[in-house]
């Protein structure tokens, strides 16, 4: 659990982060969204004390984050940034081994962990371990950056625009990989992004920052249904709102009894995908199939449209 209490950072007379309080539950993903200059990166960097707050407290599992010297604290917290920040003079394996080496792990343990992470990120250890970062594609570099951040098995992972430099297709894949890994390790992730779509997709909760202040901190559905201010509404983009709402839930939640004709949609797809398919193919209903291929029922345009309306 991460508790941020009345956190403020001032540079001269300007408060970059102004009296922010929020609690992040363990094993969840919190997305901090805001425009540039909103203080979201500064807020993130105060958690691992890359920036020291002017006032306020950050507690990690109940312990004040000032209990340890800054560099020791940072070794226990994963950190991944935009443009990956890989060390160009070190191989992929050496990059991933950075924090374990700082912590003094023995060689066998480090190399086992490096191989495990590379495999997890679908990079063959024998092939990619000895390469230098410039020999990788952008997507591979980003994966190595995240693998490096996770190397010492941190409970908390801080990410600053981790997918900012990726093209849309690789970006979607990287987001899915991150969610899968988060589930596997149960890591608490705090992710800074300027992209509301990404925040809605990844975050269990979304914190919206504007001019240093936290304007809303809530689950994505809540943010979409009841934006606290006009600024939040603008970030969401009102034209997109119903579709974003549908994207939060899987088709399985919207299944109605009955049968429909044509090709089935998997129950794990989002309701937005189902609506898109319905509109595109000009049908009124789609059959839904389970993972085992079993017929579960149907989704209808009518049903989905109802679900896309503003919740009461």
């Amino acid at each position: 659990m991460i508790e941020i209490e009345n956190l403020t950072k001032r540079y001269a007379d300007t408060a970059v982060v102004d009296n922010v309080s929020l609690t992040i539950e363990p094993r969840t993903v919190a997305a901090i969204v805001g425009t540039s200059g909103s203080g979201k990166t500064t807020l993130l960097r105060m958690i691992n004390r890359l920036v020291e707050p002017t006032s306020g407290i950050v507690k990690l599992d109940g312990v004040d984050n000032r209990a340890l010297p800054g560099h020791e604290l940072r070794r226990s917290i994963g950190y991944a940034i935009q443009g990956h920040g890989l060390f160009p003079h070190r191989t992929v394996a050496e990059n991933i081994a950075t924090v374990p080496a700082l912590l003094g792990w023995d060689k066998a343990r480090i190399s086992a962990r490096v191989d495990e992470l590379l495999t997890l990120f679908q990079l063959d250890p024998a092939d990619f371990g000895p390469r230098y970062p410039h020999e990788l594609s952008g997507g591979q570099q980003q994966r190595v950056g995240v693998a490096r951040a996770l190397a010492a098995e941190p409970n908390v992972l801080l990410m600053d625009e981790p997918f900012g430099a990726l093209d849309p297709i690789i970006r979607a894949k990287a987001q899915e990989d991150l969610l899968a890994i988060q589930k596997r390790f149960g890591t608490t992730i705090i992710l800074v992004t300027h992209d509301m779509e990404e925040a809605i997709h990844l975050g269990d909760k979304i914190a919206v920052m504007d001019a240093g202040k936290l304007v809303q901190y809530a689950a994505p559905a809540e943010i979409l249904a009841r934006p606290a201010t006009e600024f939040v509404e603008t970030l969401i983009g009102t034209g997109e709102r119903p579709f974003k709402l549908l994207s939060l839930e899987a088709v399985s939640e919207a299944v109605e009894p009955g049968r429909a004709q044509g090709e089935a949609i998997p129950a794990t797809a989002t309701q937005r995908d189902a609506l898109a398919e319905l509109l595109w193919s000009g049908r009124q209903a789609l059959p839904v199939k389970g993972e085992d291929g079993a017929d579960l029922g149907k989704v209808t345009v009518k049903g989905l449209v109802k679900r896309a309306a503003r919740p009461a």
Binding site: N48, L50, H71, E72, L73, R74, R75, S76, Y79, I81, Q82, G83, H84, G85, L86, F87, P88, H89, R90, T98, V99, L102, Y132, P133, H134, E135, G145, R148, A149, L158
Partner: protein, 386 residues
């Protein structure tokens, strides 16, 4: 198939043609300060050797003139250089009358022009071959070994520069030692002081401009003036600081020369350290901090390795500059190859000037080749970004 001309080759061939046919090959003087008489290739060499040399020069000149593979060009230029080197020694023995120890034979303008032209051709061919750094150091080693072999076999004993050397063999090596000690010692001191100073300038805002401006000013002080300025403070130290005189600190001699070279060396070392550290990617620095490196770990594990090639470039500049500059240490009694240069100027004995100048140039050249190769290796180690 039409023969096509090589652009640089045209220049080289023209210089060689002029040097071989129109300019004197060697100069003969009855004694070391008399003015010389010029001798062409056929006059300076015994009949067979002159013809052989002209033949080799013609072939090598043609190989340079037309477009040929780089290896052929290199081979031709190397053959011409070897022929020139060996036969100038033969010319010296041929021109010196039997038993006459006063006569002096030295290479003349034609020889130097052709040496320059073929050295240019060889360097150009080596560049076209795109040798690896280690191969370049290997090529340098071969050249050094060839020159050493010629010297050891006495092939050049008849030349005036070696007659001057024979008269001063002991002091030559003593001064060589002083020269190298001055150049390397002041470089070492500049590294020890300059790199930490560069790190400080990088980390502390505001300090950088002040330090670099002061060092820039130091660079503009003429060396002779700097020697003069150092006499008083160093003299004072020698008198007033216990033990200073005992380790050789005096107003004149090695100490002021060392201090002057050290001061001149600081700017390139400090400036390149600052530039190198400034060029470290922001993201890499941020990641290093974010993952829990201390400032020291970040400096030694991330910043220095990434800045190393740039810092090394500064060291290369300093080393080559110092090897040359150490020549003027003699002005304040600091010794070095400058001793021969200035004695030679005083006695109007150009051979003696060459005895000081040639080793200086050779040392600086070798240092440049070795450090350039090292810089390239360091850049590869940084992650192969060519």
């Amino acid at each position: 198939m039409t023969l096509r001309l090589d652009k640089l080759g045209v220049v080289i061939a023209a210089i060689v043609a002029y040097g071989a046919l129109a300019a004197p090959f060697a100069t003969f003087r009855a004694n070391r300060i008399m003015s010389g008489e010029a001798r062409g290739i056929l006059e300076a060499l015994p009949g067979w050797a002159g013809v052989l040399l002209l033949f080799i020069l013609a072939i090598a000149g043609i190989a340079a003139l037309i477009k040929t593979p780089a290896l052929v060009r290199l081979g031709a230029a190397a053959a011409a250089l070897v022929a020139l080197a060996v036969l100038i020694g033969v010319a010296a023995l041929h021109l010196t009358p039997e038993g006459n120890s006063f006569a002096r034979v030295s290479p003349a303008s034609g020889f130097w022009l052709m040496l320059f032209a073929f050295a240019l051709a060889a360097a150009d061919a080596l560049t076209r071959l795109q040798l690896t750094p280690l191969a370049r150091i290997g090529a340098l080693a071969i050249v050094v070994a060839a020159i050493w072999l010629l010297l050891a076999l006495g092939g050049w004993d008849g030349l005036s520069i070696l007659k001057e050397y024979a008269n001063r063999a002991d002091s030559f090596w003593a001064e060589a030692g002083k020269h190298v000690t001055l150049a390397l010692g002041s470089l070492a001191a500049a590294i020890v002081v300059g790199i930490p100073l560069g790190v400080l300038c990088h980390r502390v805002d505001g300090l950088r401009d002040a330090v670099l401006n002061v060092l820039n000013m130091v660079q503009t002080i003429p060396s002779i003036a700097l020697f003069g300025l150092l006499i008083a403070p160093l003299g004072w130290i020698a008198l007033n600081v216990p033990g200073a005189a005992a380790i050789g600190i005096r107003g004149i001699g090695t100490a002021p020369a060392f201090v002057a070279l050290f001061l001149y060396s600081l700017l390139p070392v400090v400036a390149n350290t600052v530039v190198g550290l400034g060029g470290v990617p922001r993201a890499a620095n941020d990641a290093a901090r974010g993952m829990g490196m201390t400032d020291g770990q970040r400096l030694f594990k991330v910043e220095f390795p990434l800045a190393f090639p740039v810092i090394l470039t500064g060291i290369r500049i300093v080393l080559v500059q110092n090897i040359g500059l150490a020549t003027i240490a003699v002005l304040i009694g600091g010794g070095g190859f400058g001793v021969f240069v200035f004695q030679g100027i005083g006695q109007t004995a150009m051979d003696l000037v060459l005895l000081g100048a040639v080793p200086t140039v050779a040392l600086a050249f070798a240092a440049a080749v070795i450090l350039d190769a090292t810089i390239e290796l360091a850049e590869r180690a940084k992650g192969g970004v060519a």
